[in-house]
Every structure is written in C-alpha cells, then in structure tokens.
C-alpha cells in the first residue's frame, strides 16, 4: 500500500513538473515581439522596456531556473489589472468553488439516480428515453444552454453574483443563491448527461456478475439485490470517474461563468484572453492543471482505499 501511494504521489509530482516546464516553454514560443505582447495597451517608459528586454535576453536556462524558483509566488503583475496575478486569482477562487461545487453535487445526485434507474432496467422505455436525452444534452455547448436560459427565463438575474444595494449577511446569501439558479442549472444539465451515462455503464457492467445471481438465489427481493449488492459496487468506478472528470468540469465553468458574468476563475480566464493578458493566463492555466492533478491523485488514493480489489502493489 505504501509503495502504491508513493508511486501515485511521484507520478503526480512528475506531471506537475511537466506542466510547469510546458507552461514555461509554450509562452516562449510566442510569435512576434514578446515585449509588445506583454505590454500591449500600457504606457511604459523606454527604460522599463529596455529592462524587460534585458530580462528576456538572458540565457534560456537561467530564465527557467528563475521561473522554477517561484511560479506561484511570482510578483509578476497582470497587464490588465495591474496587480500581482496571485492576488487577483485569490479573490476569484471561492465563487468558482461555490458554483461548480453546487452544480457537480446536484448533477452527481441526479445523474446517479437516473443511471441506476435506466441501467437496472436496461432496454426499457425509461432507459431509452434517458439515454436519448443524455446523448442530446451531452451534445449541447454549456454556454448555449446558459444563453437559452437567460433568454427564456428573464425573471432570473442574468449575470453577476449579487445585486447592487443588497447588504447584510442573510440578504446577501439569499441574493447569491438567487443569482446561482441559472448558471448552476446550465452547468448541471451538461454534467448530468456525463454522470448518468457513467453510472449506467458501471451498473450494466455489474449486471453480469455472479454475486447477483447468488443474491437472487438466496431469495432476496429484486429491490434489495439492486440496493444492497449492485449499486454499491457500481458506485465505486462512478465516484472515481466523477473525480477524474474535473478537467471537463473546468472547461464548462469557463464558458458558463463568462456568459453569466460570474466573478470566478472562468470569467477571469475569458477576460485574460481578450487582452491577451499573458501573465494572468499563464497563472490560471497552472492553477487549473494543479487542481486536476490533485484531484486525480485523490481519486486514485480513494479508489484504492474503497475497493480492495485494486492492486496496490
């Protein structure tokens, strides 16, 4: 078990290094004058420009070592907001966690329920309707769902996290919840499709197992066979895949936050690329990758703890 944990942690660190190196060199591949791109739309004195250019003229290795020493604490300013990038990101983390967390929770609960219902009675009318619906939902761009919701449900607020002039903790919280309705719905609709099909597929995998026949042979009701035997086993891979799908979740958050002007990391990404604000974009990308790596590691470890069948050697 210890070897397994070490191996997984080592792999995650390796991946992190890869992302950092990738992040460093990708932005060195910029076509054209990097100084021009970094300082677009800002007034800079010639001395400042010369200093920047000298920085970029140093050997690549030296620059890389400097970059490695503090990619997170770097005092680089965002070109758009003119403040350190990590300060800006810090303010934007919680709205995203709130929005995406709620949407994932709602979608996972509903998706697991739908997946159980349709997988258990495979080929039934309910199953065919669910599968058809999830296929269609899966084909929808999240932001389009959001735009349609704004257009057809105009009594809900269409953007932002709070209305102007709302004060007091309780009033603000209720107001935030009210603002969350549409973005959470848009995200949850698309995640729901993913989670339903995952749960259905893992339940269908369990249907052929012998232990279900045994459970029936000893006289358990069909309902109990499903609840006590099939579902707990099918839930394991589903939980892991929900964790692993975080990269997919982030993609949805970017466009949905942009459509609803939700002040989170996704909107920040969209704002950063309109500049483009290269330092900010670099930092956000690093943070997203870090998030996915950490959650992948958690999923691997969780799976090993929950399912003794996983080889941990």
């Amino acid at each position: 078990m210890r070897g397994y944990v070490l191996k997984k942690v080592g792999w995650s660190i390796g991946t992190l290094l890869f992302v950092v190196v990738f992040n460093f060199f990708l932005f060195r591949l910029l076509p054209g004058d990097p100084i021009g791109l970094y300082t677009r739309g800002r007034n800079m004195s010639p001395e400042q420009l010369i200093r920047l250019r000298q920085q970029l003229n140093r050997p690549m290795g030296e620059q890389f070592v400097e970059y490695l020493s503090n990619p997170f604490a770097s005092a680089i300013n965002s070109t758009r907001f003119n403040r350190p990038v990590w300060e800006i990101i810090g303010e934007r983390v919680w709205p995203t966690v709130l929005l995406v967390g709620t949407a994932v929770l709602v979608a996972a609960l509903a998706g697991v329920w739908l997946g159980i219902r349709s997988g258990w009675r495979r080929g039934s009318r309910f199953d065919r309707i669910t599968t058809g619906t999830t296929n269609t939902l899966y084909a929808m761009p999240e932001f389009w769902v959001g735009m349609m919701l704004i257009m057809w449900l105009p009594f809900f607020p269409s953007g932002g996290i709070n209305s102007v002039g709302v004060s007091g903790f309780l009033a603000t919280s209720v107001d935030t919840l009210w603002h969350m309705v549409l973005p959470v719905t848009a995200l949850a609709i698309v995640y729901l499709a993913e989670y339903t099909s995952i749960m259905r597929a893992s339940l269908v995998d369990e249907l052929r197992q012998d232990y279900l026949t045994l459970a029936r042979a000893k006289g358990l009701r069909e309902d109990l066979v499903r609840r006590r035997h099939a579902v707990p086993n099918a839930l394991l891979p589903t939980m892991t895949l929900i964790f692993l799908n975080l990269g997919f979740v982030i993609g949805g958050a970017i466009t949905v936050e942009y459509v609803f002007s939700w002040p989170g990391l996704g909107l920040l990404t969209a704002e950063a690329l309109r500049g483009p604000d290269i330092p900010l974009l670099q930092a956000v990308f690093l943070l997203f990758s870090l998030g996915v790596i950490v959650f992948t590691l958690l999923a691997d470890l969780l799976y090993a703890v929950l399912d003794p069948r996983v080889s941990t050697r």
């Binding site: 992302v19 084909a139 735009m147 349609m148 997919f248």
Partner: protein
C-alpha cells in the same frame, strides 16, 4: 486469387452494412450528417458568399425573421441564415481536419508504444497520460492565444490537444495484435519493424480507430464552437461559435432575438449528436464485445 479477395471484401462490407443498418438511431445520425455535408459542399450555391461581407449588408440590423431573411439579421444586417450555411462548412472542416491530426499523432504514438514496448512504451504512454491530465479547454485557450486567431491555428490547437485518447486505444490494441501467430510468421519470414507495423498492425488496429474517429469529430466540433465563442476563432470565417459570440456580445438574449441564438446552437447539437450516434453504433458493430447482451 484477387477475385476471391474482392468477393470476400464485398461480403464483409455487406455484412457490416446490414449490421449497421439495424441501429436505427445511427441511420438517423447518418441522415443528418449527409444533410449537413450537402449544405457544407454547396454553401456558396445555397447562399451568396457576398452576404458574409459586413460592408455589403443592406438589411436593418437585428431584424426579426421575414420573407426575405428567414432567420432575421445580425448586428450588422447580415442574414443569419447565410452565416449559418457558411458556418456549417467551417465547423465541419475544422472538426474533420483537427480529427485527422489527432488520429495521425495518436496512431503513431500508440503503435510505436505498443510495438516496441519496454522503455518506449513507458515514455510514450507517460507523455500521453500527462496530456490527458492537463485540462483540455484551458490548454486549448492558451495555445490558441499563443498562436493567434486563424482557421489553421484552431485546427492545429484542437488536433494537438485531442490525440491522447486515440494513442491509449491504439496502444492497447497493438499490444494484443503483437502477440498473434501471424505476427510471428511475418517475423520468421524476415519482415522488418516497418513492414510489421504498417502491413500487419495498422490494418488490424484501424477498424477500432474508425469508431473512435467519428466520436473525436463530435468533440472537435464542440471544441471549435467553444473556442470561437470565446473569440479565438477566425473572424473572417464565421462559424457557429462565432455567430453565438456575436449574439452574446450584442445582447441578443435580453432583446429576445431567438433567431440569433437558437439556430446556431441547434446546428451544433444536431451535428454533434449525429456523430455521437454513428460513432457509438460503429463501436458496437466493429467490436461485438461491447454489445450489451441480455
């Protein structure tokens, strides 16, 4: 000899088609694809390309659907239907071209990793796993920003970011093909690595890849729509995502201009759904193990 071979091939194709035809949803998907393919090929005949030019637009901006403009006009007075028809071409081209890049990279990496095994496999599959972990959309956004907005760059970005799935599939399949007796025969007769890989492994891996290709196209079209919506597409070649970007940017939703928002999204959903249905059916037809038995 060749006559027999052709007879066998014809019989296989007929069996394949009969099998495929039994999936009704896949046939519907195929129908949708044929329709959109037709629109893409004859886009210039169906709608005058001059209608894409902002400077030549004469209609009022944000006009509701009328006899002349079936789906109304955009913020510059261009017909939304014209944009939609020419957008079909862009979306399909990007989807197919990006998939081609992804499949080529994925197949090469997968076959090399599976065939040589050992160190080559650990290195190549390690790289693949890394690319799988990096969140797709942020990576695509960063690359598109770095490369600049053009149709070719969007194709490259989507292609370069969507190969890992193919590589994994091909590697797993290569590993099983490598151990089969006819490979031993090929080696005994003195076939080199190149010969074995291109003449024996590739043809045996291809059928599985085919189903995966179709599914990759649907993801690529969705990615193109998302990137264009975020303003990373080619502004001179309107795609469906570009229309949605304009609709969002000019407040079409709050003005209730459904003709500006609904049709491009519906096109995306139809095409992506069609590719998904065809791909899933192909998977089942080509790989009977996936069939969900009673």
């Amino acid at each position: 000899m060749t006559a027999i071979a052709w007879q066998r091939r014809r019989a296989t194709a007929a069996r394949f088609w009969a099998d495929f035809r039994s999936h009704r949803s896949a046939l519907a998907g195929l129908g949708i694809l044929v329709l959109f393919g037709f629109v893409a090929v004859f886009a210039s005949v169906l709608a005058d390309p001059a209608g894409l030019d902002v400077t030549k637009a004469t209609a009022p901006a944000h006009a509701a659907p009328s006899a002349e403009y079936w789906l109304g006009t955009d913020q510059n007075g261009r017909s939304v239907l014209t944009l939609l028809i020419h957008g079909t071409r862009v979306s399909l081209i990007v989807g197919l071209a990006a998939t081609a890049i992804a499949i080529v990279i994925g197949t090469i990496v997968g076959i090399m990793a599976g065939f040589y095994g050992g160190w080559a496999r650990s290195t190549l599959m390690g790289l693949t796993d890394w690319f799988l972990v990096i969140p797709f959309l942020p990576l695509a956004i960063v690359m598109a920003t770095v490369l600049g907005a053009s149709l070719l760059n969007i194709v490259i970005v989507i292609g370069v970011t969507s190969w890992p799935g193919t590589a994994r599939l091909v590697c797993a399949q290569t590993l099983s093909v490598r151990e089969r007796p006819y490979m031993e025969r090929a080696r005994a007769l003195g076939g080199g690595d190149w010969h074995q890989m291109t003449r024996h492994i590739l043809p045996n891996v291809m059928p599985l890849v085919l189903a995966h290709v179709v599914l990759t196209v649907s993801v690529a079209i969705l990615s193109e729509t998302t990137l264009s919506f975020l303003g990373l597409g080619d502004p001179t070649r309107p795609s469906w995502g570009y229309i949605l970007d304009n609709a969002y940017g000019t407040g079409a939703m709050s003005n209730g201009e459904w003709w500006f928002v609904l049709p491009p999204g519906l096109c995306v959903v139809l095409v992506v759904l069609a590719f998904t249905l065809v791909g899933r059916a192909l998977e089942v037809v080509l790989n009977p193990r996936l069939r969900e038995g009673p």
